[in-house]
């Protein structure tokens, strides 16, 4: 395992149980897991294996029944709801399968959203959002509304939103699920590039082809990690730093 200090995301013995008694469902059972800067980790598993639960826990959208989730060394549970929200504005970026852009806001406003929510001045937020859009290659679509964009363009906006403001943990939930394979690949390439530039990424997918973009692949079955590839930490650390 990696040194705990360097991990951007750490999950220690995380268990999440939905419901009670007869309807009790163990979404995750004692999952331990870490993601380091410059590393992209894929989480694979069939439907119901707990992939999405893992991601909602990592982003502080949900709380574990037991175990701890810490981001950049801070225990999310100890932060409270408001603190977790701040964490999502400043440290964590989400990318969803169905993009989840807000249709009432145009591209640049969607990207500027986390900054604006954080109280950054509109002008500053927009400048940062513009830069992020340029980075994902659609700076010219800044004032378009999501309804007037293709799926790939929307997902690029979503990625720009996830990385704007120099956030170090990107949580992607089937980001290519709604895209054709070529467009999906370009999105993965973008994600990979962000991680190579120093971010830590978690990619939830059920497609091996997409998971292969990761440095490590974690297999989940019924809420349990059953296997891990590329888990050799030393190699991962060396690999992630050196261009190939």
């Amino acid at each position: 395992m990696n040194a705990p200090t360097s991990a951007v995301l750490r999950m220690d013995a995380v268990t999440r149980v939905h419901g009670e008694g007869a309807t009790e469902v163990h979404a995750l059972r004692s999952v331990s897991f870490g993601v380091h800067p410059g590393e992209l980790v894929a989480v694979m598993g069939p439907s119901g294996s707990g992939k999405s639960t893992l991601l909602t826990l990592a982003g502080g959208l949900d709380s574990p029944t037991s175990g701890t989730v810490s981001v950049e060394g801070t225990d999310l549970e100890g932060l409270g709801a408001a603190g977790r929200a701040r964490m999502r504005r400043t440290s964590i970026g989400y990318v969803f399968q169905d993009f989840n852009l807000i249709p009432a806001l145009n591209a640049i406003e969607n990207v500027a959203l986390p900054l604006e929510l954080d109280g950054v001045r509109t002008r500053t937020a927009r400048a940062a959002a513009r830069a992020a859009l340029d980075e994902v290659g659609i700076g010219d679509l800044a004032t378009r509304f999501p309804d007037h964009m293709s799926g790939g363009q929307q997902q690029r906006v979503a990625i720009a939103r996830a990385v704007v403001g120099d956030r170090r943990l990107i949580l992607a939930d089937e980001p290519t699920g709604a895209l054709d394979s070529d467009t999906g690949e370009s999105i993965l390439r973008l994600l990979r590039a962000r991680c190579d530039a120093g971010a830590a990424g978690v990619l939830v997918t059920h497609e091996a082809r997409h998971a292969a973009w990761a440095d490590r692949v974690v297999f989940l079955r019924d809420g349990v990690v059953v296997d891990e590839t590329g888990a050799d930490s030393a190699e991962v650390l060396i690999d992630s730093g050196t261009p190939r």
């Binding site: 949900d62 999502r88 400043t90 969803f96 169905d98 989840n100 249709p103 009432a104 986390p114």
Partner: protein, 882 residues
């Protein structure tokens, strides 16, 4: 697919959807059921407390078959089936004498008659004198049974005994007391029982045998008997026979089972129909506005329903469903919810009325009738509820049936771009509304109806303009902070849900603003045209001779007893009528040789008991507001035997002609005494309420005018408590006397209450409209809120978004509504404040800015605050969980 099966499918889908989305369904149910409930309850209460026709027969007839009343001295009369609805004398050829009991009995086919006398009697009470309804009838006769209900004691057995109701006992009597009748020559009967009148609940009532109250002994018409008739049903023909004798008949048989209206006498045929058209117009307007409001309030819920179903509908279309079928699914929702809401509203309304009645009875002066459920009305009300639900679903249904199938299946959520047609239609309708209002403002008669009608047109026009206004607001929102920007944009994207909500708020505000302007302007007119009768704080006692000459010494003593420190100044003037049987006078003053204008004053009053004062003391002692120079001049004129006359017509004259007209009692003959005297003209402002002139004592004497004390001035200040104490003391002394204290213009309580009610109504409707739309929008915006949560919005953000939403809807609606409300509001002030006399002529416009500011600014902010505080602050989780 046949029409029937297709509807069945639509209704099944609608029912399932209604059950699945309980929250939204309940919202619609409440929106529609509440007005239905309120109207139902009101209708049932009104029908129950309104005792008409057949229901009222028992309390009016007791157990008798008819009540015969003599209206005139033998002149033939005509009447409706129920004489309460109208009766009158025709021609004047008659016997000249009232019909006797024998004649009446014969006319009614030999009916048995029980004599009864009805009249008001004055009864001494703890506080002074109360006017009490008196009935003289043999209470033990079977025919009178049912008129009174004995609750304690026994029925009177002789003319020295009476029964009274609890209301009279409450004024200071007990069983066994002697009833203090104050009328001259009235007997002093003993109270032997307590009996409640079948009709009056809180009004004092006394009843006893003939002669027990002295009503039968009264002279003239007052002593004329009525009869309860028994012995079999009285037919319409018998009624007509009695009519010919000069008696009106309330016949149980005729009222219960009236003959065709063609049987009515010709004189009665055309009566009462004149106001029907206006009444119908008012009812139609009220129903249309109410329908519009309910439709607008329920509209957003159906818009959301249609949107939620849009995928189903798109799939239906993709598999070959027709637009009509899509429409039916949404309208089916309206029918299902409308039916349930209407039925629930009616049932609950009846229940509410049942529970309310005992409470309301407590406040009412008369006994309510039997519990009365007007099923036909209720059917109409229920249909109204159903209709409003269906209408609310029509527009969303129409839009849903025209939706872009591809866009919906691709998951795009926005409404179509607004078409240009509806704003143009809106502008046209608004124009018609303005034109109609202008017409109503300038037209001479019933302009109010033209204005009310065009107000509805203007409001409908405004509804068509709401979409572009909402879109415009969204365009301007680019620079706003996140929450309002999101709210404005989202509102514009989902116009089918936003527009009805904004329109509901706007329609409410428009109505409130229009009525507010009307009420305040009316009030302004009242305030501006108010003329003080006395200097502020002063009081005056007046009395007229109704039975005997006024005893001013007694009245003075009565006032002095209550206000020992006040200075009392008697006012001397021409007593126009000193005794009921004596002659009466009228003094006409004309400028000699002046033809035009032919009067000196547009108006004058007699607040000091006389319209013409007499003597120098009037000028020195009375608060007549003239410059000191004029006062000296006037005194000189009065000393020299002249007259001081007031004019608001600018008449200039040195000499005036006085004409004293005199009539003897019971005589048409008139004698006139004329006199020309030197005069001083004193100009006064229009709207004068003071006397017309001050006569010198000499002139009055030469004219032979009866001069005496006409009133008593009481110096101030006088508190309200003192005022009522003096009033009571005066009434106890002389029932004709009255006490007036000048307190300047007093705003009518009603105006304030109306304004408060308007504001409250506006507030409630605005809150309702805003809350529905906001919470629907919030549930609609779940995915967006989930996204916001995921990118780090704090839970509080949901509250901000909710509050912004409420603000956008409330503010846009209020501004639009206020703007539209000004049109009929200003227009209606023209017919409303257009006075008839010269003094009150002119147009008054007073805009209640404070109320409008409250509606447009404070209320939306308050609503936003309430919404913000009540919105759940929990952001939804990302909805996609596998």
């Amino acid at each position: 697919m046949s029409r029937g099966t297709s509807w069945r499918l639509a209704l099944r889908l609608a029912r399932r959807d209604a059950l699945r989305n309980r929250g939204r369904s309940i919202l619609v149910l409440v929106m529609i059921a509440l007005p239905v409930l309120a109207v139902t309850a009101a209708d049932v209460v009104i029908q129950t407390q309104d005792v008409t026709g057949v229901e009222s027969l028992d309390r009016r007839l007791g157990s008798a078959d008819a009540l015969v009343t003599v209206e005139a001295q033998g002149s033939p009369v005509v009447q409706f089936f129920d004489p309460y609805d109208g009766s009158g004398t025709v021609g004047d050829q008659g016997t000249g004498r009232p019909p006797t009991a024998e004649q009446v009995s014969a006319a009614l086919g030999g009916a048995r008659l029980v004599e009864t006398h009805l009249g008001a009697v004055n009864v001494r009470t703890d506080d002074g004198v109360a006017i009490v309804d008196g009935t003289e009838v043999d209470l033990r006769d079977p025919l009178s049974r049912g008129l009174f209900d004995l609750t304690a004691g026994r029925w009177p057995t002789g003319p020295g005994e009476v029964v009274v109701n609890q209301a009279l006992l409450d004024q200071g009597y007990a069983r066994g007391d002697v009833l203090g009748l104050t009328d001259d020559g009235a007997p002093a009967p003993t109270i032997v029982g307590v009996a409640e009148s079948a009709e009056s609940r809180t009004y004092p009532v006394v009843a006893g045998p003939i002669g027990s109250l002295g009503i039968a002994d009264r002279e003239g018409d007052a002593g004329q008997p009525s009869w309860l008739a028994g012995g079999g049903p009285v037919s319409w023909d018998q009624v007509r026979t009695a009519n010919a004798l000069g008696a009106t008949v309330l016949s149980r048989a005729v009222v219960t089972d009236p003959p065709p209206t063609s049987e009515l006498p010709d004189e009665m045929q055309g009566w009462g129909g004149s106001s029907d058209d206006q009444m119908v117009a008012v009812i139609v307007l009220v129903v249309v506005m109410a329908l519009l409001e309910v439709v607008l309030l329920a509209g957003p819920a159906f818009a959301v329903t249609a949107r939620r179903q849009s995928r189903t509908l798109a799939l239906m279309a993709a598999t070959g469903g027709t637009p009509a079928q899509s429409r039916r699914v949404v309208i089916g929702g309206g029918m299902v919810l409308g039916t349930v809401a209407a039925l629930a509203g009616v049932v609950l309304g009846i229940g509410a009325a049942r529970l309310l009645l005992p409470v309301l009875q407590h406040w009412s002066n008369t006994w309510f009738g039997p519990f009365d459920v007007p099923w036909l009305h209720l059917l109409g009300i229920a249909l109204f509820g159903l209709l409003s639900a269906v209408l609310a679903a029509v527009v969303p249904a129409w839009i849903a049936s025209r939706q872009d199938v591809v866009a919906v299946l691709a998951g795009r959520r926005a409404d179509k771009r607004p078409s240009l047609r509806s704003p143009i239609l809106g502008v046209v309708l608004l124009g018609i509304g303005i034109a109609g209002s202008a017409y109503g403002a300038t037209s001479s008669s019933s302009g109010e109806f033209a204005i009310a009608g065009s107000a509805v047109v203007a409001v409908i026009g405004m509804i068509f303009l709401v979409p572009i206004v909402v879109v415009g607001v969204a365009r301007l929102a680019g620079r706003l902070p996140l929450s309002p920007r999101y709210a404005a944009r989202d509102a514009a994207r989902h116009r089918t849900r936003t527009v009805p909500a904004v329109a509901a708020v706007a329609a409410t505000v428009a109505g409130v603003v229009a009525l507010g302007i009307a009420v305040t302007s009316d009030e302004a007119q009242n305030r501006e045209t108010y003329r003080a009768e006395l200097p502020d704080g002063m009081g005056s006692v007046s009395a007229y001779a109704d039975e005997a000459p006024v005893d001013w010494t007694q009245l003075r003593a009565a006032v002095a007893g209550k206000l020992p420190d006040a200075q009392l100044t008697p006012v001397r003037g021409i007593i126009e009528s000193s005794t009921p049987d004596g002659p009466s006078y009228w003094l006409d003053i004309k400028a000699a040789g002046v033809e035009e204008p032919d009067r000196l004053l547009d108006s004058y009053g007699s607040s000091w008991g006389a319209s013409t004062l007499v003597g120098e003391s009037a000028m020195t002692n009375l608060p007549i507001d003239v410059p000191e120079g004029v006062r000296q001049e006037a005194l000189r004129m009065l000393q020299s035997g002249g007259v001081v006359a007031f004019t608001d017509q600018g008449v200039q004259a040195d000499e005036l002609r006085l004409e004293l007209h005199r009539w003897e009692a019971d005589s048409e003959d008139e004698s006139v005494e004329r006199l020309s005297v030197p005069a001083l003209m004193v100009p006064v402002a229009l709207g004068n309420a003071g006397p017309q002139a001050i006569l010198s004592t000499q002139a009055a004497k030469r004219l032979g005018a009866p001069v005496g004390v006409s009133g008593l001035l009481v110096s101030g200040p006088i508190t309200r408590a003192q005022e009522s104490a003096v009033s009571e003391a005066l009434t106890a002394t002389d029932t004709s006397s009255s006490f007036y204290v000048e307190r300047g213009y007093q705003a009518d309580n009603e105006t304030v209450i109306i304004q408060l009610v308007l504001a409250a109504l506006g507030g409630v409707l605005m809150l309702g409209g805003t809350l529905t739309a906001t919470f629907l929008a919030l549930s609609d915006a779940r995915p967006d809120l989930a996204t916001l949560a995921a990118v780090g919005a704090s839970p509080r953000r949901r509250r901000w978004v909710a509050a912004s939403y409420a603000l956008v809807i409330g503010f846009v609606g209020a501004v639009l509504g206020a703007a539209v409300g000004f049109i009929p509001g200003i227009a209606v002030t023209y017919p409303l404040t257009n006075g008839y006399s010269e003094a009150t002529a002119g147009h008054y416009l007073d805009v209640p800015w404070l109320m409008i500011l409250g509606l447009v600014v404070a209320l939306p902010l308050l609503t936003a605050l309430i919404v913000g505080l009540t919105a759940r602050s929990r952001l939804p989780l990302v909805s996609r969980l596998d």
